[in-house]
């Protein structure tokens, strides 16, 4: 499992970066989602991957025994997932409004705000 994940993360980063370099906003959004997922997965693997051993003390014992999954990266990704969820939801709404207000989702045409007033479309 741990040997596979780096490749998965690599593919997610690569695909995310590639899509974020495209001109269409929809692709940029998908790229953003992939990039965030890749990052979350990286943080997830940061603590080492131990399966089926949550860091919970069993009912009758006093302390944790044996190898257990590191809870801290899990807390990290939980936070990061929530943040990513918020940012992605906002970005989707933003892209939608951009498409509506600007009439295009081609980032090469989103140059009105940087043009001189007399050159604006």
């Amino acid at each position: 499992m741990e040997a596979v994940l780096p490749f998965v993360i690599g593919v997610l980063y690569a695909a995310g970066t590639f899509l974020m370099l495209r001109r269409a906003l929809a692709r940029i959004l998908i790229g953003l989602a992939l990039l965030t997922t890749g990052t979350n997965l990286l943080v997830f693997t940061a603590g080492g991957v131990i399966r089926g051993r949550p860091p919970l003390i069993e009912g009758d014992s006093e302390r944790l025994t044996g190898p257990y999954a590191d809870p801290l990266p899990q807390a990290f990704i939980l936070t990061a997932i929530v943040i990513g969820f918020g940012v992605l939801a906002f970005a989707i709404a933003l892209a939608y409004r951009t498409l509506r207000d600007a009439g295009t989702e081609d980032t090469d045409e989103l140059t009105n705000s940087e043009a001189l007033p007399e050159e604006r479309a």
Binding site: L56, L78, A93
Partner: protein, 141 residues
């Protein structure tokens, strides 16, 4: 929403709604010691409002929610804020988890500031998610 939602959806949603809320309460209550908690419970609860909105339109969704989403947001922030500030007022460290137990229907129930914090998270999530869903549903162009 111009198009009417399908008959299947309109029939099943009223049946499903109570299940969503019960499940949300279940997730919320098991959250402290087992996977679950305010965030996921909030998402489940807001899924109920989202479904209502999809099936019957945003007005129905707003009716089901009762108060405006921003009230949920504000109340959630306030509850979470009070739960971390309360220990200071009681002479403990900022944000320390304080627990006490009460008896409800003959069963002992542990309540404490972390639970209140989770409740705040739940309310914020419901407020945010419902606000987003309504904003999209009420969009007309």
């Amino acid at each position: 929403m111009r198009t009417r939602a399908s008959l299947i959806l309109r029939t099943t949603v009223p049946v499903l709604l109570p299940l969503f809320f019960v499940f949300a309460v279940f997730i919320f209550m098991r959250g402290h010691n087992e996977p679950g908690g305010g965030f996921s419970a909030g998402l489940v609860a807001s899924a109920a409002f989202a479904l209502t909105t999809v099936a019957f339109g945003p007005e129905a969704g707003r009716r089901a929610l009762g108060l405006a989403p921003r009230v949920y947001l504000g109340a959630g922030l306030l509850v979470a804020g009070v739960s971390v500030a309360l220990p200071v007022a009681m002479g403990e460290a900022f944000g320390k988890g304080l627990w006490t137990s009460i008896t409800v229907l003959g069963r002992e129930l542990k309540v404490g500031t972390p639970l209140a914090f989770d409740l705040g998270v739940l309310l914020v999530v419901v407020g945010t998610a419902a606000g987003i869903v309504f904003a999209f549903a009420e969009e007309r162009d």
